[in-house]
């Protein structure tokens, strides 16, 4: 299946070219939706059986009156999407050029999120020494080899402490610095694949209203950054019943549409499969949620979202297609900046959906307004992508 150039869209009748592909995309969406429905009871039972449920030890938001009913709700519901998408793609859409790496990176990120979810339930308390404690150990530790070890690993310790600024209490799960490192690896794999394997065309970025620009090797760090940012953005947005799932449906649907329009048919089918499965997930995730996405879903789908937008060469419109996810991520960064630079909270609580919650908005109101705003920006993104 070859990629279509833009002028084909203008000169060739769509019905002749790709309606069969569109039919396939929708068909896979429906298949994915039904398959998810079929095995969702199994997943729910599994999560309940092994008590993979949300605990409130390190989550301050669960102490809010309106959120107390979220304690003991199963997490890792994102497995419903991840497993279904991986299963369908491997069986029906396994194409070396376009689906191996997105699925691989999605699974890698999902595995990272899964480990985090599991550790948060079954793990032990983990400590994160302050830099002053490490400096003290370097000075006073009776073992010279340990002193040397602390000296050699001091840059890593600085990275650890700096990363901790971005998180709430690390609790038992994977620490931020570990997450960042593994996400970096996932991003690096995606960058390597796109830059070195897909061909010259993907080394240029398509800018709407302008054309292609070649930024050379800078594309590699850009891709890594976007994959990391998007994965974390979706993860951050997954804080209310139905929020992330409901926003991901239009995003992946739009990506499916754009992939279809530009002739990336495998990617279009992949996006359609994700959107279909997300419909089932969101059905169960709407308040009161039967299960929650967990890091396994949010990190995996976030990474997949970024890669799929990059593969169809529409990095620029990703800002619109994932608008509310980036708003959520930005709210966290602004809050951290406000705290350390200005000494005050910009929002009552970050991410921004908690700010509105503390201002008295109901969860349903926040979720639906975020959906609507997101949908509007997704439409804007599609329109921009067509220029």
């Amino acid at each position: 299946m070859r990629r279509l150039r833009k002028f084909y869209l203008i000169t060739m009748p769509t019905s002749v070219l790709t309606l069969d592909i569109l039919s396939q995309i929708i068909g896979f969406s429906i298949l994915s939706c039904f398959l998810s429905f079929l095995w969702s009871p199994i997943l729910t039972n599994f999560l309940y059986k092994y008590k993979i449920t949300r605990k409130g030890h390190y989550d301050p938001t669960l102490h809010l009156e309106s959120r107390k009913d979220k304690i003991d709700v199963p997490v890792m519901g994102g497995l419903l999407v991840i497993v279904t998408v991986a299963f369908i793609t491997v069986l029906f859409n396994w194409e070396r050029s376009f689906t191996w790496v997105p699925i691989g990176v999605m699974l890698l990120s999902a595995a990272l999120g899964g480990v985090d979810d599991i550790l948060n339930i079954y793990g032990k308390e983990r400590r994160n020494r302050k830099l002053s404690q490490i400096i003290r150990l370097i000075r006073v530790h009776r073992s010279v080899s340990m002193r040397l070890w602390y000296i050699l690993t001091f840059p890593w310790s600085i990275f650890k402490r700096a990363s901790a600024w971005l998180s709430k209490h690390p609790g038992k799960g994977v620490h931020v610095h570990e997450k960042l490192l593994l996400q970096f690896i996932a991003g690096a794999i995606a960058a390597w694949w796109i830059y070195f394997k897909l061909g010259q065309h993907w080394r240029e970025i398509y800018l709407p209203f302008d054309g292609y620009i070649d930024i050379g090797w800078l594309l590699i760090p850009l891709i890594i950054f976007i994959v990391m940012l998007t994965a974390n953005a979706v993860n951050i947005a997954d804080g209310m019943d139905g929020l992330a799932g409901g926003m991901l449906i239009p995003t992946f649907s739009a990506l499916a549409l754009l992939s279809w329009i530009y002739g990336y048919n495998e990617v279009a089918v992949l996006n359609g499969t994700v959107a279909g499965s997300l419909i089932t997930y969101t059905y169960y995730n709407i308040k009161p949620a039967r299960f929650q996405m967990g890091d396994v879903g949010s990190l995996g789908l976030g990474a997949l979202l970024a890669i799929n937008a990059i593969v169809i060469n529409h990095i620029a419109v990703l800002a619109f297609l994932g608008f509310m996810f980036y708003v959520e991520a930005a709210s966290v960064l602004i809050q951290v900046g406000g705290r350390y630079l200005l000494g005050r909270r910009i929002f009552k609580m970050a991410p921004i959906h908690h700010h509105f919650e503390l201002r008295g908005w109901s969860e349903e109101k926040i979720v639906m307004r975020f959906w609507i705003i997101h949908l509007a920006f997704v439409f804007l993104g599609i329109w921009i992508a067509l220029h």
Partner: protein, 262 residues
């Protein structure tokens, strides 16, 4: 005999009242004294380093209670105060002075303190930048009492919005203190009484008794320095009054007025 009483603007009095009774629903709690010298927190949230406004402090207390699963609605005033002190939240003397004087300056249409107060600690670019983005944290007693920002005035000229600065005081003469004048009473043009507000901790306050409170200075002889007048605070005067003792011990104690208030 004509008596004249002057007091701070309504806006400044409101700030003062908010500190003296932080509002948690129907409960009012005196804002505790907290100085970051011991804690040494760098780049922290203002309420956690003794520089928060009343609203910021209240909000931070509520958020901390939320995070630590404490039900502050069920606490009485005493427990609430203990909760706040135990979480190392409060206001220091210069933080309190900043917010009150800022409100006073704005109410007189003289602009904010951020705009008017000139940095005195260091002049390099980074320090200036920090002063710009963190004005409250950068405004210490030395900033207020610097000649760049204020001038010493005679006791008889004192009026609300002026302040008393004590430099190099305490048993080891290693800290400074500031009190804001809130009310003055004069008879026939001679000042008789000054009321002030400050955030301070006396040793006998114990762990939980300190905070923002008012005091009074009876002016017996305007020719004598301010620290030689009769200070009353918490019904204690003379040697028992620690605030006065600190004023006497200080390397320099003076009544001052911000330059743009003249």
């Amino acid at each position: 005999m004509s008596t004249q009483t002057l007091s701070l603007s309504e806006e400044a009095r409101k700030i003062m009242a908010d500190y003296m009774g932080l509002s948690f629903g129907d409960k009012k709690v005196q804002c505790p004294y907290y100085n970051n010298r011991r804690g040494g927190i760098r780049a922290g949230l203002r309420p956690l380093i003794g520089k928060g406004s009343p609203d910021e402090i209240t909000e931070e207390v509520i958020l901390i209670a939320l995070k630590s699963r404490e039900n502050i609605k069920g606490m009485d005033e005493k427990d609430l105060k203990r909760f706040i002190v135990d979480r190392k939240i409060g206001i220091d003397c210069s933080g309190l002075a900043y917010y009150i004087l800022d409100a006073e300056s704005r109410s007189k249409n003289l602009g904010s303190l951020k705009k008017n107060l000139r940095p005195v600690n260091g002049t390099n670019f980074l320090r200036k930048l920090i002063c710009k983005i963190r004005p409250v944290e950068s405004a210490g007693v030395t900033s207020f009492s610097s000649e760049k920002n204020s001038k010493e005035i005679k006791i008889n000229d004192a009026r609300p919005g002026d302040f008393i600065a004590m430099l190099n005081t305490g048993p080891e003469k290693n800290y400074h203190h500031i009190l804001v004048l809130t009310e003055t009473m004069s008879e026939n043009g001679n000042i008789k009484q000054i009321k002030y507000v400050h955030s301070y901790a006396w040793p006998e306050d114990g762990k939980y008794g300190h905070g923002v409170r008012e005091g009074c200075i009876e002016i017996t002889d305007v020719q004598e320095p301010i620290q030689k007048q009769i200070w009353t605070e918490q019904s204690k005067s003379g040697d028992e009054n620690i605030t006065q003792r600190r004023a006497i011990e200080a390397g320099m104690t003076s009544v001052r007025r911000l330059n743009w208030f003249h």
